[in-house]
């Protein structure tokens, strides 16, 4: 499964106009979107999720292909957005898992209710899915607690479980670990990696933190001022990442 993104989105900002123009392919596995604040990282995720409509472009999900030409894989692709063909699937139709920066857990629901919120229907299948994902992310013990009653790490795990329980075709992570200490972060990343071994889906992982990205990322997309300036496998990508302003040093 490969996510193919080509989009343009312009914003009016105080200093002038900000234009995001990004084109990249993200095959199964974790692609890190790395860059300083205001580079347009979250905007890319929101466009892929369908929460923001690009001015123009094309976002498609398809089978793996050796060719770089987006058009060549069109037959196998499911188009999520195509400005030329006026296709714009709603977020509900896209089957995407999204973990927001501040998690966006529903505060009036328990952890279990948060997790089962997106699963259609009732019955044993639903229960099995919830139990399975809660065990994998070690949150069974907080099932009956509301987000305000559990720790930051547990909230993170619940948010991941909620995003993954619906078996999404793409996973979007918007700096979800930024508020955690390193040990906890690596622990959660290990659980996530295990899950991704079972489901080979494209993951777009936005972060400022090199240690996080190194622990999870397989390739890096360097984003600066709305443009992808480099696209490489993790080790090579870091050499360029270091030179970007606003990028945090390794911890």
């Amino acid at each position: 499964m490969t996510l193919e993104v080509k989009l343009r989105k312009a914003f009016s900002t105080k200093p002038g106009k900000f234009v995001l123009e990004a084109e990249f392919r993200a095959p199964g596995g974790v692609s890190v979107i790395f860059g300083p604040s205001g580079a347009g990282k979250t905007t890319i995720l929101e466009c892929v999720a369908g929460l923001l409509v690009p001015d123009s472009g094309r976002i498609a999900l398809g089978g793996d292909s050796d060719t770089d030409a987006l058009e060549a894989t069109e037959v196998k692709n499911e188009i999520l957005f195509d400005s030329a063909r006026k296709i714009d699937l709603t977020p509900q139709q896209r089957r995407i898992g999204y973990v927001f920066q501040h998690l966006a857990l529903f505060p009036h629901m328990t952890a279990a209710e948060n997790i089962e919120f997106g699963i259609a229907g009732n019955g044993t299948r639903r229960e099995m899915l919830v139990r399975d994902v809660m065990e994998r992310f070690s949150v069974t013990h907080v099932a009956g607690h509301r987000p305000a009653e559990i720790s930051g790490g547990e909230r993170q795990r619940v948010a991941l479980a909620r995003a993954l329980v619906t078996r999404p075709r793409i996973l979007l992570l918007d700096e979800p670990f930024s508020a955690l200490d390193d040990a906890l972060k690596l622990d959660i990343i290990a659980d996530l990696k295990q899950w991704l071994c079972r489901f080979d889906i494209p993951v777009l992982f936005v972060t400022h933190d090199r240690s996080e990205a190194a622990a999870l990322g397989e390739r890096v997309l360097l984003l600066r001022e709305g443009r992808i300036v480099n696209e490489e496998a993790t080790s090579g990508g870091w050499e360029n990442a270091r030179r970007l302003p606003g990028v945090s040093p390794a911890r």
């Binding site: 929460l51 977020p91 966006a104 529903f106 505060p107 997106g118 619906t166």
Partner: protein, 223 residues
């Protein structure tokens, strides 16, 4: 104290606020989330009773209830009588008159629900209806209670519309505010004072309840 007027007023205010809960929630959801260009036209219509003199509203409702309109004729055919100068007519008039007092706090509360929560629900594949039912409405409960309490209090205190649409029929349309007016007209100030004092204390109690609930909701929200 005229207990008949007291009971009638309580019945009228309770019915009105319950009807406004049922009617007001969908209207407020639409006002809060619709992106229609012409939305402002309906918003202005809902808010009209805030600025319109009650006698003007009452006059048009009286005309609408009469046999000269489609609505009036339809009701007479179905119910066998007119809505004017009846308790049912008062309920309809109170619902229209108090609509903005219910819809505006509800719409404000719905708009105040964190957009990220709505976005998260959308990415989880659920329908708009489910998002409203399970996320927006439960998180906006303080606004809904505010809307109900305000419409209840507003109905208790309404005068002009009641007089125009209901007249002053004991046991049918004579509410507490009309009763006070009657007492003053008859120079019976002691009795008017007694009823007015009850309404004064009642209004203060309701507002205390409202502010207390909002304070609790703020504390709950910040946990």
């Amino acid at each position: 104290m005229n207990w008949q007027a007291f009971t009638l007023t309580a019945e009228l205010a309770t019915l009105t606020s319950l009807i406004l809960l049922v009617l007001g929630v969908p209207v407020a959801l639409w006002v809060a989330f619709s992106r229609q260009r012409w939305k402002f036209l309906l918003e202005a219509l809902v808010a009209m009773p805030l600025v319109l003199p009650p006698t003007v509203l009452g006059f048009y409702l009286l005309v609408a209830f009469g046999s000269g309109t489609v609505l009036g004729r339809w009701y007479q055919r179905v119910a066998g009588s007119t809505l004017a100068f009846t308790f049912r007519g008062l309920v309809v008039a109170s619902v229209v008159y108090s609509l903005p007092f219910a819809v505006q706090p509800m719409a404000a509360a719905f708009r105040g629900v964190d957009q990220k929560l709505i976005d998260a629900a959308r990415t989880l594949g659920v329908t708009k209806r489910t998002i409203y039912r399970r996320i927006v409405v439960p998180l906006a409960w303080p606004g809904m209670i505010t809307g109900m309490v305000l419409s209840f209090a507003h109905t208790v205190g309404e005068f002009g519309v009641v007089l125009m649409v209901g007249g002053n029929i004991p046991g049918a349309t004579r509410t507490l505010s009309i009763d006070i007016y009657d007492q003053v007209q008859g120079l019976n100030y002691a009795s008017a004072n007694q009823t007015a004092l009850v309404l004064l204390i009642f209004s203060y109690f309701l507002l205390c309840l409202l502010y207390g609930l909002n304070r609790r909701a703020l504390l709950w929200g910040s946990r």
